[in-house]
């Protein structure tokens, strides 16, 4: 073949390729244009089917579908197709045919759900179609072979009957002295017939008669024990109760023991009221009625931010020498010697002028103290201490304070400038300064009434100085009355015996007695009455002294550990015991200088302190010793108050009366716990704690409104309460000396600090450093809300109801058909032994959930009784409540 021919054929071949390409392009372009109507038809079909509702459709199949209650008229045709498919309804195919053949007669089409063909009309086979147009739509809440609609139900109590709850009347930390009246309030729907129980728990020390609303309820004899409450069931007197206020009066026979140191009267009753109506912005404290001597220690609760305070005092006094006063917190807000009937209202300006800080009082339990004694009794809260300060002036006291070297001689009286800064100061000089510390603290102007006697043992004799009320003279005596150098032996028993003689000589029944014993050595002598008797004169020498009079030690190592001094030691214990037994005296002992290395010496001082409930301290440092003396002095002042909650009333006392229409009203911000719609209020009390650190488990499905600890403190003060390591009450926030503070029986617990498991700590004391434990009768009383309605159940398949067996907290059991119209054979149980219901039945689930809410202790027993008409189960069977499964894809294909 020639080259020219080759090129010619090549050119022809290229031209054919170009022409073919052009024709193909033209062909497809034409086809695409011809297909344009079909492309949109599938989309239009889906849009129409998704817009057209079943109610608008009039095909015969649509009528059938409407009659089956599966769908609503408002459902789209597309959704209806999906629902019919999901429920395997055989009408699905015909329904779909009716729709498509009417509206799209000229096309072949098919309808699919999740890839399953529901119906198709093929004018031409889909597999041979030139053009296929498809459109898809999601349909939610349907899935193959799943129900498409369920039931949901809610239940609520239309009313309750016989709700078990309680009302309390409280006695304060110390309510006395005389006959006491308090009020117990019962709601308007509660009378004697609805009271299930009436109990009385209190810490009283003397028998009393109880009158309820003026009628006799019996004679009660408490078992006397400190911080221990007696409990009486007085339900036999419940017939004396009425709706509203009920007066409870305790009549005692002996004014000195006529008091209650904490307690309550509790009426348990049945009520039909969901929530007690009250103004939750106001907290009211009602004073008890007291006829005798007004001596009240209590507290009131401010549960949120305090805005206003109002006090109404109504009392009578007969003696113009009596100062009647009221303290709120540490502030004295009322003080008067007015006699006759006094009726006074203190408003905000009065109270803030008196120094009350409302912000400080907010969210607290506020101690309150009201007192009206005659003048001979007020000394109890001032100074009633008789104090003997024993100073060792034996030979060893001439040595310096921290060694056995001789201390500086000469009379030095400048305590601040010369004695306290000198760590080598002679012991006698330092002892003089320490004694003056006691005078300064215990005999200041506000503590008038305290008496003090210096006592020494020196040169084998015992001395005292008698001018007990004159602090100036006593100070002068210490400055000049004794020589600078100690001398001779140590007779601790003799010095204690001298204190005994002083207490005996100046004996008064309402005195508190204390001995401060300072010694630098072990006892060497017995008293003149021998080693088992008491006498201020020296008896026979029992052992050698720690140091002789010249200052040279004899043989201390031996006598500090052997038995040579035992008789003198025993003699000291005998006298200490007599001081305790006969005068309830307390001995504070101080080991002076390096005496701590002498076992017998320290043992003696420790045991004397133990015998008399005192304290033992030792030091060789002047500043430390000064601090020890100051602490002892303050402790004496605080211990004076140990007896001050009880007024020791002499014969011929002048009576005073507190009327129980007196009150404190605190207006405050809305506390966080208040009733909401569909809640039931209940009040509950835990069992006694039997521990100062109880763990209390509370129901978690409750919503707490208020809570408080009740604490028995006896003669002491409830001074600290914490919950879950959060401080709920600290009495020392108000004042470190408790004598003028109230003693709350109820202590506010912030509800936000409560959880399911709660750890409490409760303490009583007489001052910040002294703890007196707690009562085993303490408990927690709380008011909470329980829901009376349940949220809607989940969407469930059934709603048929059931015949329930339900157990109650009071031991009863009942069969109830819920809803009342139910007559089927389903059996359901909510009992202590069995909880059983059908979890696919919305009605049964709703009933179970409300029973669970009413069973807050989850023991299978609810706390209200139900009648069929009381527990109204409102069932909202919303048809076609969609399930959440799906979505499913419905697809329409159209082809030619």
């Amino acid at each position: 073949m020639s080259r020219g021919m080759y090129y010619t054929l090549d050119g022809i071949f290229a031209a054919m390729i170009i022409i073919s390409a052009v024709f193909l392009l033209l062909t497809f372009s034409s086809q695409s244009r011809d297909a344009m109507p079909l492309q949109t038809t599938a989309h239009d079909a889906v849009m129409i089917l998704n817009t057209l509702t079943l109610g608008e459709l009039n095909t015969p199949e649509a009528v059938i579908v409407r009659d089956n209650n599966l769908t609503n008229d408002s459902d789209s045709v597309l959704r209806t197709v999906a629902l019919l498919w999901a429920t395997n309804d055989p009408v699905a195919e015909n329904f779909t045919r009716g729709v498509f053949e009417e509206f799209f007669p000229q096309y072949s089409f098919a309808v699919y759900a999740e890839g399953t063909r529901i119906y198709d009309k093929s004018l031409t086979a889909e597999s041979s179609a030139v053009f296929i147009s498809t459109a898809k739509q999601q349909v939610s809440g349907v899935a193959a072979s799943k129900p498409v609609a369920g039931n949901t139900a809610t239940a609520f109590l239309r009313r309750i009957e016989n709700k078990s709850t309680a009302s309390f009347a409280y006695f304060g930390g110390f309510v006395g002295q005389g006959n006491i009246t308090t009020n117990l309030y019962l709601p308007s729907d509660v009378d004697a017939t609805r009271v299930r129980g009436l109990v009385m728990e209190m810490d009283a020390v003397a028998p009393f008669t109880l009158r309820i609303n003026g009628a006799d309820c019996g004679y009660f004899t408490p078992v006397t024990a400190n911080m221990t409450a007696d409990w009486w069931n007085i339900s036999s007197c419940s017939n004396l109760l009425v709706s509203g206020n009920n007066s409870f009066r305790l009549n005692f026979s002996n004014i000195s023991t006529s008091y209650v140191a904490g307690g309550y009267i509790k009426a348990t009753y049945r009520s039909d009221v969901f929530v007690t109506s009250r103004n939750t912005n106001v907290t009211r404290y009602d004073f008890p009625g007291i006829t005798g001597v007004i001596n009240l220690f209590d507290g009131f609760i401010v549960p949120s931010t305090l805005r206003n305070l109002s006090v109404h005092l109504h009392y009578s006094s007969t003696d113009p020498t009596v100062i009647t006063y009221l303290t709120i917190g540490e502030k004295t807000v009322w003080q008067s010697n007015q006699t006759g009937e006094v009726d006074v209202i203190l408003n905000d300006s009065n109270l803030t002028y008196a120094g009350l800080d409302y912000l400080f009082l907010s969210n607290k339990t506020v101690p309150i103290r009201f007192q009206s004694f005659n003048s001979t009794e007020t000394i109890l809260s001032g100074g009633n201490a008789d104090i003997v300060v024993i100073t060792d002036y034996s030979g060893s006291m001439k040595k310096d304070i921290d060694s056995d070297g001789l201390g500086n001689s000469g009379l030095i009286t400048n305590c601040e400038g010369a004695i306290y800064p000198d760590n080598d100061i002679r012991r006698t000089h330092l002892a003089r300064c320490l004694a003056k510390e006691v005078i300064n603290i215990t005999m200041n102007a506000s503590m008038a009434g305290n008496r003090l006697w210096p006592v020494y043992y020196f040169d084998d004799r015992v001395y005292n100085y008698t001018n007990p009320l004159d602090s100036v003279a006593l100070t002068a005596h210490y400055n000049a009355g004794m020589p600078p150098q100690g001398k001779e032996k140590t007779c601790i028993a003799c010095a204690l015996s001298e204190a005994y003689s002083i207490f005996k000589a100046y004996n008064q029944s309402n005195r508190s007695r204390y001995v401060i014993l300072l010694s630098d050595g072990l006892p060497t002598h017995c008293t003149g009455a021998g080693c088992t008797g008491i006498s201020s004169a020296y008896g026979s020498q029992a052992c050698d002294g720690y140091c002789d009079e010249s200052g040279a030690c004899s043989s201390p190592p031996a006598i500090c550990t052997n038995s040579a001094c035992k008789p003198a030691m025993t003699n000291a214990y005998v006298v200490a015991q007599k001081l305790k037994d006969d005068f309830n005296a307390t001995v504070f002992t101080i080991a002076f200088g390096p005496v701590e290395s002498c076992t017998n010496a320290t043992d003696t001082l420790i045991k004397i302190a133990d015998i008399t409930n005192g304290t033992y301290n030792h030091s060789s440092n002047p500043q430390e010793l000064r601090k020890i003396y100051q602490n002892i002095s303050y402790s004496i002042l605080e211990r004076i108050t140990l007896v001050s909650q009880t007024a020791k009333v002499p014969e011929g006392f002048t009576p005073s009366t507190l009327y129980n229409d007196s009150y404190v009203i605190a207006t405050h911000d809305q506390p966080s716990g208040r009733a909401l719609p569909n809640e039931i209020e209940i009040t509950r009390q835990t069992p006694p704690f039997a521990s100062c650190t109880p763990t209390v488990t509370l129901p978690t499905q409750m919503r707490f409104q208020e809570a408080h600890i009740v604490s028995y403190s006896g003669q002491h003060w409830t001074d600290f309460v914490s919950v879950n390591n959060q401080v709920a009450f600290n009495l020392s926030d108000f004042l470190v000396y408790y004598a003028r503070l109230g003693d709350p029986y109820r202590v506010f617990i912030p509800i936000q600090n409560l959880t399911g498991v709660n750890n409490f700590y409760i303490n009583t004391g007489d001052n910040t450093t002294n703890s007196t434990g707690c009562s085993n009768n303490n408990s927690l009383i709380y008011t909470a809300f329980v829901p009376s309605a349940t949220p809607r159940t989940a969407v469930l398949e059934n709603a048929t109801g059931c015949s329930w067996q339900i157990d109650y907290d009071d031991g009863g059991s009942q069969f109830v058909s819920i809803p009342p119209s139910y007559t089927g054979t389903n059996q359901c149980f909510y009992t202590g032994s069995l909880v059983q219901y059908d979890s696919t039945d919305a009605l049964q689930v709703a009933v179970y959930e409300i029973l669970l809410a009413l069973d807050f202790d989850q023991d299978g027993r609810i706390f209200v009784s139900l009648n069929e008409e009381d527990l109204e189960i409102i069932v909202t069977k919303i048809g076609s409540v969609p399930y959440l499964w799906g979505p499913s894809i419905v697809e329409v294909r159209v082809w030619q």
Binding site: V22, T41, D44, I48, L52, L57
Partner: protein
């Protein structure tokens, strides 16, 4: 001889190119691409338009639907425009005509939507379905040149 071959080859090459170009010119439709673009622009009528509640004074883009159904009021608004205004609103250069029918029966509405073609070189039919009330309604659009 070599010069003679080259002459014949040149003549054949020119002939092939001429035939190819003539084929393209004869078989390609006139202005095909703008025609298809106009068809796509007509689809805007299957929307609510802008603004959704447009009328003759507020219209920006005309659309015949409200809640996925033909809105007779909107159709009437469109019918009130002149043919040139309609083409301008639709932003098309081709001629068009719109008819509505239900169950193969033409509805007496939108009679001035576009204009009937007296003659044309190219005709592109578009068919869209939607509800008018509760009736399936066919909107047929004919684009032509």
């Amino acid at each position: 001889m070599k010069g003679q071959v080259l002459t014949i080859d040149l003549i054949l090459g020119l002939l092939i190119i001429t035939v190819t170009l003539l084929s393209v010119v004869l078989f390609l439709p006139v202005n095909e691409a703008p025609f298809v673009d106009d068809a796509n622009r007509m689809l805007v009528l299957m929307s609510e338009g802008v603004p959704p509640d447009w009328n003759n004074t507020t219209v920006i883009i005309p659309g015949f639907l409200t809640d996925n159904r033909f809105n007779a009021t909107k159709i009437e608004y469109f019918n009130n425009f002149t043919y040139d205004e309609q083409r301008a609103l639709l932003n098309i250069r081709s001629d068009f005509n719109i008819t509505f029918s239900q169950n193969n029966t033409t509805l007496a509405m939108c009679l001035s939507c576009g204009q009937q073609p007296l003659s044309y070189d190219e005709l592109l039919p578009l068919r869209r379905y939607a509800l008018m009330g509760s009736n399936i309604t066919l909107m047929e659009v004919h684009l032509y040149q």
